[in-house]
């Protein structure tokens, strides 16, 4: 499997709208890269540029040491799997999987060997004589993957392949994808807006917002060391709770609460004395008791944990996740704090030269 280098990729549409800004990424051989971000952040556009379905406005795309920036899709040796499967309804599963090879006028025997090998990997051997409409969503998606596998491409591209499946099937397909990646040792670029998929599948995640790359790193890094407020709130469910406040005399203060900082926090925030910063705490890192008063609005027992929704000092809405079964009622006031080892600090959002708001950078 080859390496892929994406250098300073820009996409500007005819109307002047810029969808992707200066995208840089080096993908290693056999790596599973997940592009994650909200709708309209440019992740699918980036993938389509790599596939050759969109022109690259500026930048370079190098696949296996070959400059593919201007190459048509058929010369890039990549395979793409779409959200809507894109199977031919009038063909059998076998014919669907063999289609690209038939177009290349491959020998029938070789086509058969490849299709059967892919069907074996994907557990589709008993479905080969059926038509796509006779299969379930998960099976259809496997066929779409099979069609990609038989081509032995240099790079697999997946554009939200699990979005059409129900939650249970999505879970099992995720596990199958992990196994498939290991089995094929394939280099994969995978687009999703689902952070669970991103965290479970990726070797590295590329988190995007508004066409910009916000952070590239392995899943645990994005979760534990978010680069900015966007990544902090996007990765993790429920999202991280954010509080604006000032650093004053070893305390984080705002109108809602006064939070004493630990020695470690003071060291980190020594350049921010008297300045406004953002304190971030994940719902699962909220502890009891603590110096902050939470007015409970809702208590959701999920079996293995409880989500407690409430307003800090009756004003700022936050969510807490407690490991045990809780029975708080609306109107209860509980004392909460933040796990000192897991609290994050960020700068306030800044503005770029065009007046666009940038997420606040992490303070470490």
């Amino acid at each position: 499997m080859p390496e892929v280098n994406i250098q300073h990729l820009d996409k500007i549409y005819d109307g002047g709208v810029q969808a992707v800004y200066d995208f840089n990424l080096d993908i290693k051989d056999g790596e599973f890269i997940v592009l994650v971000g909200p709708s309209g952040c440019g992740k699918s556009t980036t993938l389509r540029m790599v596939a050759g379905l969109e022109d690259i406005t500026a930048g370079k795309l190098i696949i296996d040491n070959k400059d593919c920036t201007k190459e048509p899709p058929k010369n890039r040796d990549i395979a793409m799997v779409f959200q809507n499967y894109a199977l031919y309804g009038h063909m059998t599963i076998y014919e669907n999987m063999a289609f690209s090879l038939t177009l290349r006028k491959e020998n029938k025997e070789i086509i058969h060997r490849k299709v059967m090998a892919a069907a074996e990997i994907l557990d589709l051997k008993t479905q080969l004589n059926k038509k796509p409409k006779q299969l379930s969503g998960g099976q259809r998606q496997r066929v779409a993957m099979g069609r990609a596998i038989v081509r032995n491409p240099k790079l697999f591209l997946f554009d939200e392949p699990l979005s059409n499946l129900d939650a249970k099937l999505r879970g099992s397909m995720r596990r199958e994808l992990i196994l498939l990646h290991k089995k094929l040792n394939a280099t994969i670029m995978y687009v999703t807006h689902d952070q669970t998929e991103a965290l479970t599948l990726a070797d590295r995640i590329v988190c995007m917002s508004m066409g910009h790359v916000q952070q590239i790193g392995n899943p645990i890094d994005l979760y534990e060391k978010p680069a900015n407020t966007f990544v902090a709130t996007f990765i993790g469910l429920p999202p991280m709770n954010m509080f604006e406040g000032k650093v004053e005399n070893g305390h984080f203060k705002n109108q809602l609460f006064d939070y004493p900082l630990t020695e470690k926090h003071r060291e980190i925030l020594k350049d921010y004395e008297g300045k406004e910063v953002i304190l971030g705490a994940r719902p699962e890192n909220i502890i009891r008791p603590g110096p902050v008063k939470l007015h409970v609005t809702n208590n959701e027992n999920l079996g293995m944990n409880t989500l407690v929704h409430g307003k800090v000092a009756g004003v700022k809405y936050i969510v807490c996740k407690f490991a045990e079964w809780c029975n708080y009622k609306a109107g209860d006031i509980i004392d909460i704090g933040f796990d000192p080892d897991k609290v994050h600090f960020f700068e306030l959002p800044a503005k770029d030269e065009n007046g666009k708001e940038l997420p606040g950078k992490a303070i470490r």
Partner: protein
């Protein structure tokens, strides 16, 4: 031409499990087309005797042959041996038809149908008779070809399926063997042993991380 190895033969037989017998189907349909050309010419004849007495029977017969041929073409496509015999029967009947109205018309010099701007005189009946014979023989030949190909392929598939079901042949093993010999045309996968090793290492790594935490 290079002689096929036993593995290649197994693969070519296994392909039939997933591919229709299109040759047999196309030949059967071609036979049907020649039959259509035959009856178009037949019904262009303006012989009063034929129109009064036999036209009803002829139309019914034609319809039956059309339907039976089409049904057979669909079945031989799916490797149904029985319909190869039906096609052979129809082919034989097409030959017999030469000795029906075409021969009667030739003897009585009544084959005078206008055909593509050609209007034969009663003395030229032989020309139309020849065209009738060509259509019927061509139809019979196509149907026979379809029947033979259908029967041979169906028999091969039947034998292959018996071997697969009895475990005498394991297609996946054959493919693996061929892939080992010709890895450039194989789906590139990590072997189970390597995968198991990787999974073992990953689990050990996770456990070690857990202990550190």
């Amino acid at each position: 031409m290079e002689k096929k190895t036993p593995d290649q033969i197994t693969i070519s037989h296994d392909i039939m499990r997933y591919k229709k017998n299109k040759w047999a189907q196309v030949l059967a349909l071609l036979g049907l087309v020649f039959n259509c050309l035959y009856f178009m010419l037949l019904y262009a004849e303006n012989d009063k005797y034929f129109y009064k007495i036999t036209i009803g029977i002829s139309v019914i017969l034609t319809l039956i042959i059309l339907l039976a041929t089409f049904l057979s073409s669909e079945n031989v496509k799916n490797y149904n041996k029985t319909f190869s015999y039906v096609l052979l029967g129809i082919a034989a009947f097409q030959i017999l038809r030469i000795f029906g109205y075409p021969l009667y018309g030739l003897k009585n010099k009544i084959l005078t149908a206008g055909y593509f701007g050609f209007y034969p005189t009663p003395e030229q009946s032989g020309i139309i008779f020849t065209i009738f014979v060509v259509y019927l023989v061509a139809s019979a030949a196509c149907l026979t070809g379809a029947a033979v190909i259908g029967w041979v392929q169906a028999t091969r598939l039947e034998a292959h399926m018996k071997k697969v079901e009895s475990g005498e042949v394991d297609v996946m093993q054959v493919i693996k063997r061929m892939d080992e010999k010709d890895s450039s045309n194989a789906v590139h996968t990590v072997s189970d042993a390597v995968l198991d090793e990787a999974l073992k290492n990953a689990t050990a790594e996770e456990n070690a991380q857990g202990e550190v935490k």
